[in-house]
Subunit: 204 residues, 3 copies
Amino acid sequence: MKAELAVVPTIEFVAVLAAAFSGFAEARKKQMDPVGVFTVAFVTAFGGGTLRDLLLDRRPFFWVQHVEYVVLILVLTLAATPLLRLARRVVPETAFVLADSIGLGFFSIAGTSVSLIAGMPFIVAAIFGVVTGVCGGLLRDVILNEVPLVLRDGKPYALASFAGCWFYLLMVQAGAPDPLALWTSAALIVAVRMIAWRAQWTIK
Amino acid sequence: MKAELAVVPTIEFVAVLAAAFSGFAEARKKQMDPVGVFTVAFVTAFGGGTLRDLLLDRRPFFWVQHVEYVVLILVLTLAATPLLRLARRVVPETAFVLADSIGLGFFSIAGTSVSLIAGMPFIVAAIFGVVTGVCGGLLRDVILNEVPLVLRDGKPYALASFAGCWFYLLMVQAGAPDPLALWTSAALIVAVRMIAWRAQWTIK
Amino acid sequence: MKAELAVVPTIEFVAVLAAAFSGFAEARKKQMDPVGVFTVAFVTAFGGGTLRDLLLDRRPFFWVQHVEYVVLILVLTLAATPLLRLARRVVPETAFVLADSIGLGFFSIAGTSVSLIAGMPFIVAAIFGVVTGVCGGLLRDVILNEVPLVLRDGKPYALASFAGCWFYLLMVQAGAPDPLALWTSAALIVAVRMIAWRAQWTIK
């Protein structure tokens, strides 16, 4: 929890916003009504962390402690269509992918850190890190009635997260101070994901 | 919990039955076998409340305390096909929609009340009310491999629930006695849902 | 928990392996990448027990206590395609169905036993037994975007589990020693499932 709270709020804000926007985009593609748009954005942003906390039997959830994020998604839902159009025109695609990568990196390492504090063995902590990082998108796809992208597109998305989580665990094991381990590993995930995106790596 | 228990058993019975019947109808449409029919009816009736209790870390579940409802759904499953046909011929559609609305109203307010007692902030209590009211149907649709109706048909189903939950919270905040707040808000949800159905409101 | 631990590790190993293999086969059919193959095998093997433990509010999960199984599935994933091809050629179909039946029998009775110890009423313990036995496959199908096979193919899969769970409960109630009740009921499930498979029983 310490690790989660220690992260600069700006990064956290970017991560939540990136996840919510990916939810907006998918929900709009599927012709959802406003209730659907809000639900899908909410699940994409908080589903991974909520599932992790359910598995760890940990309360309160992140979004219960930070209801301002819930209000933000509620407000953004009302403006989702024009906002998305504007964002697509103004923001270059690289910025979108970068925001998404920051989300992946931040959520994954926060998830691993929380699991480690809860006494999980290393491999379980790494898996819970991946769950935190990617299960928001997985639940989004299940609700939208699609085979989850993360399980079939061959892009090293979950693998980047898994590698970063292990890197974090090894740094902590080696005695590195927690903030250093956290930032290095999250940065590693962002870097791997961005390079993989540029180079169009696939592992299929 | 008090609020939940205070509700007249007849209303509760109507709510559970309405949800189970909607599950029977959907499962039959999808050609499920008896195991599927039971599962889908069960999930539609108790899925929302069970998900809420999981999120609140609250035990025992409603249906574990009232196993008579589980037995009832088990017995009804065996007679689902003839029963559905009979019900469709004898009962006017308005009665079906009314029963369903009562389910929505009762489950939503009960969910909000329970969440408030569990110490949730207002907006989270309202969201958990909606979860209790609509997630049974949402889980039913996910199992039946469809994009959940509640997220895409533009009918103010979840919105009626959300509005009613806030009305309940404001009444409680204003010092209204709990039974009054509960009955007024549930009635409000039923009324909005019935009017929206008659007038064919959509919010898309 | 005692009952679970009392089961000979070989049986447990066969049950987990059978479930994982069914996950491998389905994931490959759907053209998943390695991340998908691992996730689907993992969910098929541990999804039912994890869902039961979530509902019972019980920790740690089986697979958190036995991380060697997680490592095993991770290793098998890397060799899934050639392994599956080899297994299909070398192992007769009867052996596959038998392994799957042993999984169903073992997981179902273990789930009932655990629920009984947690103080659940008989009917709930029987339902949690079925959840433990079949929900791994159900969650696998939901993730793979299919209507769950167990709910629609008319094969007495969940029913065999349900009958066996009640048999176990009645034996325990009648004062039978736990290991006897466990082995007899699990054997009953395996027998019913194998006979139903041979005779192509359907209940639709």
